[in-house]
């Protein structure tokens, strides 16, 4: 079959995407270690209700780091980005709409 693959159909790469430099992986590991220490350290300070939020924020950053660099999303095609974003978006739908019930159960009607 001699025709050129149509770019609109499948992207017929002969060779898969580029290879990241080795040092990048160690840098990411280092960052994750720092963030883990941070997580533990912050948890020992009493911030009241903010503790959860801060812990989750740090966890989100760690997850982002793993996704973007360990999982190569930063160099991945747009479709990969869409899949990742959509799955978290749908999760957000589950959280927000379910919580909309629980948080408003004790509201008073005037």
């Amino acid at each position: 079959m001699a025709h050129q693959p149509d770019h609109e159909t499948y992207s017929g790469h002969a060779a898969p995407p580029h290879q990241a430099p080795l040092g990048m992986y160690f840098a990411v590991f280092g960052a994750l270690m720092v963030l883990t220490v941070l997580t533990v350290w912050v948890s020992r300070i009493d911030l009241g209700a903010m503790n959860t939020a801060v812990a989750m924020a740090i966890a989100v950053v760690k997850a982002l780091v793993v996704i973007l660099w360990f999982m190569h999303v930063i160099h991945s095609p747009r479709l990969t980005w869409i899949v990742v974003i959509c799955s978290f978006l749908w999760l957000a739908v589950l959280f927000v709409l379910t919580f909309s019930d629980y948080l408003t159960r004790h509201w008073k009607m005037d």
Partner: protein
């Protein structure tokens, strides 16, 4: 594809399009290795997406109850040893590093390096699961396993006990599902160690290791959220 046909290793340069020869691991419903690589990585991303929703569901339930029973959740969290959890977190992130390096190695057809990295990943993963097993044994020993075996009573505030049992239910279910995923991952690693040692992977064909990596990193991400939510409330 038959495994036995691979007599040369995949360190040879990629063969051009339309050549009569095709890569020994090209599956025949694909046009070329590029399409096969893209299809397998996309497939694994879709699988990871549904796993996000799977774990996400139990995280949602966790947060609902955490909002309902904050004191019980804090008390339940105190039953965990945060030092052990933190150490395990380091181990697991370390295994993610070795996994990522294995992918790097496979892409560069570094047979021995890749195999070593996969073995290290398996080892670190094994340590993680072993430590979790120890933690589980400790909990069971102290009567903290939910259900008919639950005999733990909170010393200061016995009324919290029921909520603590609920917390421990979530603890065991969430970490149990996570550990199950790790065990499955370990099995897959064994399979890939064998293939890497054989020299199956190279620049044109390393997607099996890449998708193994995607799975392993995902399991790591779940733990990144589990650790603060269960150990550091």
């Amino acid at each position: 594809m038959s495994d036995a046909t691979l007599s040369h290793n995949a360190e040879h340069a990629a063969e051009p399009h339309g050549h009569a020869h095709h890569h020994p691991f090209l599956q025949h419903h694909f046009e070329d290795m590029g399409q096969q690589h893209e299809a397998s990585t996309l497939g694994m991303w879709f699988f990871v997406a549904q796993e996000i929703l799977f774990f996400g569901g139990i995280f949602c339930a966790y947060f609902i109850y955490r909002a309902m029973y904050p004191a019980a959740w804090a008390a339940g969290s105190k039953l965990q040893h945060w030092e052990i959890g933190a150490a395990n977190t380091v181990v697991l992130i370390g295994s993610s590093l070795t996994m990522a390096l294995a992918v790097w190695g496979a892409q560069g057809a570094r047979r021995k390096f890749t195999t070593l990295m996969l073995v290290l990943t398996l080892l670190l993963g094994g340590i993680f699961v072993g430590v979790k097993g120890y933690e589980y044994a400790e909990h069971i020993h102290h009567g903290q396993f939910p259900g008919s075996m639950f005999t733990y009573v909170h010393a200061q505030d016995p009324a919290l006990t029921r909520g603590i049992e609920l917390f421990m239910t979530f603890y065991f279910t969430m970490t149990g599902l996570h550990a199950l995923h790790m065990v499955i991952g370990a099995g897959l690693l064994l399979y890939f160690i064998r293939r890497a040692w054989r020299g199956d992977f190279g620049h044109e064909y390393y997607s099996p290791i890449e998708i193994m990596g995607l799975y392993w990193h995902f399991v790591d991400i779940v733990w990144i959220f589990l650790f603060p939510l269960l150990y550091l409330v």
